[in-house]
Symmetry: C2
Subunit: 470 residues, 2 copies
């Protein structure tokens, strides 16, 4: 089954002149229709061609967002929320036209409740910024999607990343949200209590809704005490399946690893070239352990034993903060390192996630599928969660490569679905996976999602054309 992609879908509706006037009069210097500004907001990290909005408003407050939404609704015109622009799935593209409300200037850390292990932030706060501002508190925010994404965007895509194996995803780490609804109402979805059985879980409904149900303007997230000890390790393996099998057994044993990342040989080569590292070019695992000194030592020993049983070699430790940072910076730059392996390319990135027992089979089969392609491809993964990414480096001007990448992508996704897995572990549906979402949950579940969308946004003005077609 080959799914059509919406690469060429440009159903841009022009902005009504009266709406331009109203927004300009309300927002003055924070409203723009300049082409450069529009272009900046019409691209992300996906391989889709840019598709700029008709205008951009820089919001500074929840009230600003309310006014944008109300003015757009009066003119029946779409509104698209924008955070850091790091989406991989075309979430931000204004495929039906629209006004982009840029939340990047709503970037204040509002309240650090250190004694409650919570923090309230505006949606434009970036994850690195948040951890910088938390430094003196002895606490940290673990969710780490690699890119320096905004917290609002991370909520909207239900993001996770390298620490999720231990600390969970945005789904588990958000306590409550302030949201502007399609009707311009401001709601708070929940209190700051750690758990609650009070009514329908609106928090979790907005998390992962990709800007289609409301615009998030404040976020309460959980924090964690900085572990007493942290230690990272790199180990290389004779084969991909040896590496993956080591992680599977680590998880099945219940070792509370904080991070367990897989990188294929080609990824390591790209990282060495990009980050000037000298990692052994072989299938590799990056681990991190958090806990007390004794517990970190114990976890590390257990994992080292498992790795040795699978031929793991060159166990290298990074216990000093600067060494750990170098390692994880290299991991986080893997995406850009891979892009540089083929100048001018764009990456089609898969994001399947399967039950852990099927992971080795899933990755090995993905490698075989990718090897039939005529372009370079790499594998990296948050393997402790059963989640991995294939990066297919295509020439964006080459129709044949685009089609070929979609064909391989389709095979990898169908394989994951056949293993009771998901088409997207953390990147979201966006424009790219709408057909896969139908394959994954079925028409009747999609119908319920559609009804929620219609109930929340009857005019279909919030980021229209994403997640599913109305």
């Amino acid at each position: 089954m080959n799914h059509p992609t919406p690469y060429r879908e440009h159903l841009q509706r022009l902005i009504p002149p009266a709406l331009v006037d109203a927004l300009r009069s309300r927002f003055d210097g924070r409203f723009s229709t300049a082409q450069a500004v529009r272009d900046h907001h019409g691209r992300d990290e996906s391989p889709f061609p840019p598709c700029p909005p008709q205008a951009v408003v820089y919001a500074h407050s929840t009230d600003d967002v309310v006014d944008v939404v109300n003015l757009c609704r009066e003119h029946r015109y779409p509104v698209i929320a924008y955070g850091a622009g790091s989406s991989l799935e075309g979430h931000l593209l204004a495929i039906q036209g629209g006004v982009t409300v840029d939340l990047s200037q709503m970037n204040r850390v509002l309240t650090i409740n250190a004694e409650d292990l919570t923090v309230t932030v505006q949606p434009g706060v970036l994850r690195k910024q948040l951890n910088d501002e938390l430094k003196s508190s002895g606490l940290f925010f673990p969710i780490d999607p690699g890119a320096d994404a905004s917290l609002g965007g991370m909520c909207a895509t239900r993001a996770s990343g390298t620490n999720a194996v231990r600390y969970g995803t945005m789904r588990e780490n958000v306590l409550g949200l302030t949201v502007v609804t399609a009707e311009g109402k401001v709601i708070r979805t929940a209190r700051r209590a750690k758990k609650s059985s009070a009514g329908y879980d609106l928090t979790r409904l907005f998390i992962g809704s990709e800007g289609t149900l409301g615009i998030i303007t404040e976020i309460d997230v959980k924090l964690y005490p900085l572990p007493e000890a942290m230690s990272a390790a790199v180990v290389s393996f004779p084969s991909l399946s040896d590496a993956v099998q080591t992680v599977i057994e680590t998880i099945q044993l219940g070792v509370p690893v904080a991070r367990s990342e897989f990188l294929c040989e080609a990824t390591i080569r790209a990282i060495n070239a990009h980050s000037k590292t000298e990692l052994r070019e072989a299938p590799t695992l990056f681990f991190e352990f958090h806990g007390t000194e004794a517990s970190v030592r114990e976890q590390a020993e257990l994992v080292q034993n498992l790795a040795h049983e699978h031929g793991g070699e060159n166990f290298e430790w990074a216990t000093r903060p600067e060494d750990r940072n170098r390692l994880w910076t290299a991991r986080h730059n893997a995406y850009f390192a891979c892009l540089q392996a083929r100048p001018g390319c764009r990456a089609v990135v898969t994001d399947t996630c399967v039950p852990i027992s099927r992971l080795a089979e899933s990755i090995t089969a993905a490698r075989d599928i990718l090897d039939t392609g005529d372009f370079p491809s790499m594998l990296v993964g948050h393997v402790g969660d059963g989640n991995f990414h294939a990066l297919l480096l295509i020439d964006p001007d080459n129709e044949a490569e685009i089609a070929e990448a979609e064909r391989l992508n389709d095979q990898i996704v169908q394989l994951a679905l056949s293993m009771d897995g998901t088409c997207t572990g953390e990147h979201g549906i966006g424009l790219h996976k709408m057909a896969y979402l139908v394959d994954e949950v079925g028409d009747d579940a999609i119908e319920l999602m559609r009804r929620i969308k219609q109930a929340f946004d009857p005019d279909n003005l919030l980021n229209p054309g994403k997640v599913f077609r109305i």
Copy 2:
């Protein structure tokens, strides 16, 4: 502000005779209108007077549930899902009439995926049964609401309990659900992957929906490897606030306690009488630690030091399984032990949960509020989560006591809300807290919940009159 309670709300609609005929013809011996059967399904552990359904069907399969829902919908007649009958909030009461679909015979553990750390169960599986059936797998299911509740009911109320401080609640531990919708469609909300960003989070929407959005017929939950070592401890304190402060500091330090339960002096007295234990009659904490031998020792030492700083005495250890079981059985029977402290009484049970820094203040104030009442009351709590229960032991035939209990309950809830807490940490809204839900989330959030209800169940046939009024 005093909220009216629906104690006297009996708007029973009679069952259409044609529906009786259709259900009897379809279900034969598994359909009943016998008064004793109806009475059994019209009561729970709440203090509300019984309110039986008009008929009961014992379902054996998802198809059975589909047929009940379809037949009831054809006759525009309510359907109420029933698991173990352990609700504390009147969830099961047929206040508008209805057919109860009893799921207790759908009690098979369908598939243990030990290598994935997941299990798929039918909704009538009881939590103790599940752990019994898991024994040979080396895995366990941690969520533990005290009562031997059904997994379906635990999903419906977003239950948690003593282990939630370490392992989370049903919100964090359900991977996916099979649900029969109001239109008789069967959907599966998600795959068995540990994480997913695929579309709106229908799983979390059904969890906590209290039977009002669909009927859950299969559940995929996470399992955990049995810890290498487990150890429990009891410690008593000079005062309530010393005990609670010890827990607050334990959480703030990031000690991964598996359980941390508070019991007031009166609760200990009731337990001693009921369970023939000889616990010191003082404010008390029960702890449990899970991990490797070394990690359990380390956690226990840390907590012991904190306890000593707050005057904790008589630290008693239970490392043998039978001693630990005796301790937790006594804890789980606390509810029934308290009921026996006043023969013939029913308990009004509060369930507030606040950010951890406000917990000591919240419990101390609750104690002061309760001391103004003319009936016995106890405090127990999952204090590591900021969640505690006051048990108000009232004579159910004494109108003055009922009114007084509601007045005190109201004060405790309003106090929690003023501390950014919730009116219910784990018991749900049911009949009792509909007005508090409005106070907690506000009219505009309630409006969104109402729209979801209308979108999923346009005829308002699934457990009508619960969570909020339509």
